[in-house]
């Protein structure tokens, strides 16, 4: 009995001396340090990703003589880097969401004003001459003293339209085929179903470039060489396996009950698919549509190989030839074309990003 009483006594003393305030302060400090550390790391790794885009835009809007002016780059950096650090500090240290938003707004306004003062006078839209002047090459080259233009450029809007057609039709075909195929693979039993599912993934694993010569010959024999439609078919073939796989996963997530319910409610199989099942895989459709479109928009190797006439140029080819002719001569125009090329992808992602983050990949189920 005495032994247990001895054990109890010191414990009750210790209990009395606990200082909750110190413990709370310590854990508050630890939480803050961790937050600051995490933000610092994230900013450090994202700088190399953010900076090139920033420079691209800066050069495109400022290079008057075709040369990236270091002065402007440094000045804009001098605005951007403190602004990012300020954002980070506000994000890490502000306790309330409202205070954080107010802080962000203040920084944005301040940075905008400093930017206008430091960089504003150097802004220059002349690099976007290619948007209005098909024969811009001579105009640009004459800025550097040269006069001979070597490449016959089509209008950039023509290339833009070609890219839209290419990416758009490829997306339309991929979405239609992948939805139907994914539904069939998800819902129906047929011989070779599992093998099909496995081979879909294997198909995706092959490096597509290895097939470039056979594909060239194939398109030549079919007569689709140097046509947009030929490239569209090739891109669709390479995009489909993955898109089908993603759609199959989305269809797997739609309960059977709902489909059965639609059938007993008087819908045919096709009506049940269109009215009940398809609306529920909307996110999947948006996801594969965006991925396919971006893939078609940025496509370079196949268009470079299979398209020859300059009326068939897509934006990537346009970009390539501009770079080929002007690099070392006029960085401003190259950057401006880059910015112009970038805008649609950016818009698309901005609109669709909330759907893209919901993609989950299902496993291969038998």
């Amino acid at each position: 009995m005495t032994a247990s009483a001895d054990l109890v006594l010191p414990r009750s003393n210790a209990k009395a001396s606990v200082d909750w305030t110190t413990i709370a302060a310590r854990s508050r400090l630890r939480r803050r340090t961790e937050a600051v550390g995490a933000y610092a790391f994230l900013i450090a790794v994202s700088l190399p990703i953010v900076l090139p885009y920033f420079w691209l835009v800066t050069v495109a809007f400022s290079a008057k003589l075709g040369i990236a002016e270091t002065k402007v780059l440094w000045r804009s950096m001098a605005v951007l880097v403190p602004a990012i650090i300020a954002f980070w500090l506000v994000g890490a240290l502000s306790a309330h969401r409202r205070r954080m938003l107010v802080g962000f707004a203040v920084i944005t306004v301040l940075a905008g004003m400093v930017f206008a003062v430091l960089v504003g006078p150097d802004l220059y839209l002349g690099n976007f001459i290619f948007l209005v002047e098909p024969n811009f090459e001579s105009a640009v080259l004459s800025r550097g003293g040269q006069v001979t233009a070597t490449t016959q450029y089509p209008s950039v809007w023509h290339a833009f339209a070609n890219s839209l057609i290419l990416a758009g039709s490829q997306t339309a075909i991929v979405v239609t085929v992948a939805s139907l195929a994914g539904y069939y693979l998800s819902r129906f039993q047929f011989p070779g179903r599992v093998a099909t599912l496995r081979s879909l993934l294997v198909l995706h694993a092959f490096p597509v470039l290895t097939l470039i010569v056979p594909l060239f010959l194939m398109l030549y024999w079919i007569g689709l060489l140097d046509t947009l439609f030929g490239v569209i078919l090739v891109l669709v073939a390479f995009e489909l396996p993955f898109a089908i796989f993603i759609m199959k996963g989305f269809f797997d997530g739609v309960p059977w009950d709902i489909e059965m319910s639609a059938l007993t409610d008087g819908a045919s199989r096709r009506q049940a698919f269109l009215r009940v099942v398809l609306p529920q895989v909307k996110n999947g459709i948006i996801a594969i549509a965006v991925f396919s479109f971006i893939r078609g928009w940025e496509e370079y190797i196949f268009v470079f190989t299979f398209l020859i006439r300059n009326t068939n140029w897509t934006m990537s080819l346009y970009m390539y030839f501009v770079r080929d002719d002007m690099m070392g001569v006029d960085y401003g125009v190259v950057s401006a074309v880059g910015v112009f090329y970038l805008v649609p992808s950016l818009l698309l992602y901005a609109v669709a990003q909330k759907y893209l983050s919901q993609i989950t990949l299902g496993g291969v189920k038998g």
């Binding site: 309960p255 009950d257 709902i258 059965m260 319910s261 639609a262 059938l263 007993t264 409610d265 008087g266 819908a267 045919s268 009506q271 009940v276 609306p279 529920q280």
Partner: protein
Amino acid sequence: MARIEFRNLCKRFGEATVIPGMDLEIDDGEFVALLGPSGCGKSTSLLILAGIYMPSGGELLFDGHVVNEVEAKDRNVGIVFQSYALYPQMTVRENIMFPLRFKRTPADEARERTNSIADLVQIGELLDRRPSELSGGQQQRVALARALVKEPQLLLLDEPLSNLDASLRLSMRTEIKSLQKKLGITTILVTHDQVEATTMADRIICMRAGRIEQIGAPNDLYHRPSSLFVAGFIGSPPINLVVGRAENGQFAAGSVALPVEGAAGDVTVGLRPEHLSFGKSGLPGRIAQLEPMGREVLYVVDTGIGYVRVLEQGSSAAHASSEEVRIAFAAEDSLVFDSGGKLLECARIRPPS
């Protein structure tokens, strides 16, 4: 409204036979429960009735016409799934109107019918919400409204209450039953919950491994179960089953022998806890555990034939743990099954005198 008939109906999935051959008749306007453990083929039967599955053999008849090959959309069957299966992208109103679209019901009439059916199941004020904004009980009502709005000739309920909480389950049970009586629609309820089946249905079809074990009114299944399986499945708390041997008018099990009549050989004796009581004479034992259940107390008694559950009326326990007791019962409440698990109609067992 329809009369349903199964004639030697069977269903196979590849190698597996789910229903080997089923004969069944359900009358017009009847409320029938398909009762059985999971995997016994009751949901498969339901989907065959709905036209989702095609039978592999035999015939399914609606009002005397073979409907084996009639598609689900043409059967005019309403179904309520356990998951409710509401269409998440549509409002409640659109959900309920969905079946009417395929019937080409004029818009005015469709709206009217939707409103009146919504009032009937008391969801009139929820029509513009989405299913995700509703509670489980409300979703259940929407599913019921959607199944009823097309005035089906047959209503199928697949475990409709198992996702609801206990008190809601009780009130929905009453509501569905009175709705069925009011509308007079032939209704088939699939459930693994014997209480649901006995409280709601006019007739229970007890199934086991794709076969019908017994068909009868809830009382028949309780008082005269045709087999050990039905006896064990129906009743709560479950029946006491004692395996032993009947010889020379004595049933011997464990260290005890009880007088028996009408049985010989290996038998199983069934005694329902609610038919047992404590008395001055009877099977001796010692109370091992008490489980107060509110209105009743369940005693687990350690006897010479093993643990026996005894259900006694009264909210407070009249007996204490480890008390010595004697268990009495009436001979006509006892059930005796042969070694194959079939009920021996005339066999009775008596408590020791």
